[in-house]
């Protein structure tokens, strides 16, 4: 997983409240065998509307999404995070997120930034014309107009994101302990070793 520290660039001024995971990625995309390419299905229903935000060339490839309260509610599908990641989103800024969605986003290296509604309103304005800068290390969101908003983040998540460590990466960093366990287990229960190759 790529380390996340600074996310800088254009932001989609989306702002909608209670966006559920069905809106982020409709159910018919769940039969896929890949998490790559799901960006094509992201916000599919909204994108069917002419002149929609996500197909506006002014915002093409924006790494930041600004949303309203309770972003990512509804079904627990991890596909929602996969779809956003696949469309190039590296940070979502909203007043609140569903727990499951923010967990899934984190697992996939997407930063979720919680800011009060006033800050969101201001960022929505700025995003129409200018770039936004999310600085994970200093836990701030800034604009070229001297705006500076601080946000909170769980220190463990911050460390994982900055180190580019997903959960699997974190566990892989414990390789020595796992190898040590494997050796002890092989000595205590040698009959289990063969597994599927026995």
């Amino acid at each position: 997983m790529d380390p996340v520290n600074h996310v800088e660039g254009k932001a989609y001024p989306f702002g909608r409240k209670n966006v559920d995971t069905d809106v982020i990625i409709p159910a018919h995309w769940l039969k896929t065998i890949s998490r790559i390419g799901l960006g094509r299905g992201a916000f599919e229903a909204l994108r069917a509307e002419p002149g929609n935000l996500f197909d506006d060339p002014a915002y093409a490839g924006s790494p930041i999404l600004i949303a309203g309260d309770n972003f990512g509610c509804g079904s627990s599908r991890e596909h929602a995070a996969w779809a956003l990641g696949d469309m190039g989103i590296k940070a979502v800024i909203a007043p609140s997120f569903s727990d499951i969605f923010s967990g899934n986003a984190f697992k996939n290296g997407i930063l979720t930034v919680v800011l009060p509604q006033e800050a969101i309103d201001r960022l929505m304005e700025v995003a129409k014309t200018d770039e936004i800068h999310v600085d994970l290390e200093n836990q701030t969101v800034t604009t070229p107009f001297q705006d500076r908003f601080s946000f909170e983040i769980d220190p463990f998540r911050k460390q994982c994101l900055m180190g580019g460590l997903d959960e699997i990466g974190m566990t892989m960093a414990m390789d020595a302990q796992i190898s040590n366990y494997e050796q002890r287990a092989a000595a205590a229960w040698p009959w289990q070793a063969g597994g599927a190759n026995a």
């Binding site: 494997e182 002890r184 289990q192 597994g195 599927a196």
Partner: protein, 485 residues
């Protein structure tokens, strides 16, 4: 050495012994990194996990502890033509998932039992049958009925796709310990009463959420008297009672079942294994968080009437009145269930006509299940009102055994179809579905809305009871069928 692997001196439950023996590391907040001894992989919950590995440039840490078998999507119609050529799979999405597993397994060095191999079957039938699943091991699979393997005394539970990827890459999982519940069943089961009836009874008593946060250990003379097949059936449905896993302490019955299985230990390893497995019992003085006592003599052949596996009545009973339930939310749920099921309060269960019969699934597709169904069907015909009746063996080896015993003839003579192994009508994912608005007597494990196909109305029963329903065309008491049953 044993101390280092978690042998403590205080009395412990079977669950605690297996848990302690698998802790690689414990975090300050109590979360543990737990080693996984056996990982079963099927085609539905694995493609994105393999892709995740590929994208991150990761390998499977222990391909030797991983076994891949397709089952959920696979049609149960013949897989080869007369010339022995593989037949294509009609549904493009199923074909794509199956092809992905077939490519991923060898690419990551994983043993793959393919659609046309004689050992192929439902993962939870194949694991025990091959001796891949062993007492005292931790077993996971991206399927909630992994609880099944607990019947051998393994700590086995279902996981999601992200966790599948985590296990593939690290052979571990981050887990918090569960609470323990003992379900103690004493006495002899009556004639015509099977492990499935016992499983349904347990869920009726504890409720579909009764085991939430717990691992259930099944104890008592009734459990000890069950065959391994019966124990797998009981443990399989632990998840339907809300528990993540079920456990039955291994004993001589278990050892006799496992001995000589292809992947089971051999020679001196076998002897060492058995002496270790004999220590896998709950110590005297160890305590469970909760204990439920059941008298086996009180259990009748059971059927479900609603859309939750806790909606169980004896076959001699009637459809309940929603107002009979004290809890208003249960009243509401019962009303919805009855509307979906097309049933009226007070109807006798034995008057409910069924058009479809499904004998199969990881709950009831082992040889003993097929023998029980065949005993009822022998020399009989399915009722004219039964439109679709299929028998789906749990694996190719079960199929061979059944054919060697002539069971396939009994089924075919009775007018039932004899299929290739797979999950089949347990879930509406492959072509085997119950049509909308129609009713089935099914030996599977879930009677959820739409589980056997959109609008399908499922009554969960034992294999003998499904066979009885096939003969009469309605839900029937197998004890009144006479004959071998």
């Amino acid at each position: 050495m044993l101390k280092a692997l978690g042998m403590a001196s205080r009395p412990r439950t079977l669950y605690e012994k297996i848990w302690d023996a698998h802790v690689v590391d414990q975090r300050a907040d109590g979360t543990c990194l737990v080693f996984i001894d056996r990982h079963l992989v099927h085609e539905v919950t694995s493609p994105q996990a393999f892709e995740g590995l590929r994208v991150a440039g990761r390998k499977v840490r222990r391909p030797d502890l991983t076994l891949a078998v397709p089952d959920h999507n696979l049609p149960t119609t013949p897989r080869k033509d007369a010339a022995g050529n593989r037949l294509p799979i009609a549904d493009p999405e199923s074909a794509q998932q199956l092809a992905a597993l077939e490519q991923n397994a060898p690419a990551f060095g994983i043993r793959y039992i393919g659609a046309t191999d004689r050992e192929q079957g439902i993962v939870h039938v194949v694991g025990p049958e091959q001796g891949f699943s062993l007492p005292g091991t931790t077993i996971v699979c991206g399927d909630s009925h992994t609880a099944c393997h607990g019947g051998l005394g393994a700590l086995a539970f279902g996981i999601g796709t992200s966790e599948v990827e985590h296990v593939l890459a690290t052979q571990t999982l981050l887990l918090t310990p569960s609470k323990t519940m003992e379900v103690r069943v004493e006495g002899a089961l009556g004639p015509g009463v099977t492990a499935k009836d016992l499983a349904l009874e347990i869920i009726r008593r504890i409720g579909a959420a009764g085991g939430t946060g717990h691992v259930i250990e099944y104890t008592g003379s009734t459990i000890r008297a069950l065959s391994v097949e019966g124990r797998l059936t009981v443990s399989n449905m632990s998840i339907e009672g809300g528990a993540r896993a079920g456990l039955i302490a291994p004993d001589d019955v278990t050892f006799a079942y496992l001995k000589g299985r292809p992947m089971a230990p051999k020679g001196a390893d076998w002897d060492a294994a058995v002496s270790y497995w004999r220590t896998l019992v709950t110590d005297p003085g160890a305590t469970y968080d909760r204990t439920v006592l059941i008298d086996a003599a009180e259990i009748a052949p059971n059927v479900t009437w609603g859309t939750s596996p806790e909606d169980v009545v004896p076959i001699t009973g009637v459809v309940p009145d929603p107002m009979d339930f004290a809890d208003p939310s249960k009243q509401e749920a019962a009303r919805k269930s009855l509307a979906y099921m097309g049933l009226e309060p007070g109807m006798r269960m034995q008057d409910v006509a069924v058009e479809n019969i499904f004998i199969g699934s990881c709950t009831n597709s082992r040889i003993e299940d097929l023998r029980a169904a065949a005993a009822v069907l022998k020399g009989r015909k399915k009722a004219p009102g039964v439109k679709w009746a299929i028998v789906v063996p749990g694996s190719g080896l079960v199929k061979e055994q059944a054919e060697a015993e002539g069971l396939d003839r009994v089924f075919k003579d009775a007018g039932l179809e004899w299929r290739e192994p797979g999950c089949s009508a347990c879930l509406g994912m492959n072509p085997d579905k119950v049509p909308p608005g129609e009713r089935s007597a099914s030996t599977s494990n879930r009677n959820f809305v739409g589980r056997q196909g959109p609008g399908a109305r499922t009554h969960l029963v034992s294999p003998a009871m499904a066979a009885a329903a096939a003969v009469t065309g309605r839900l029937s008491d197998v004890r009144e069928m006479g004959g071998d049953a």
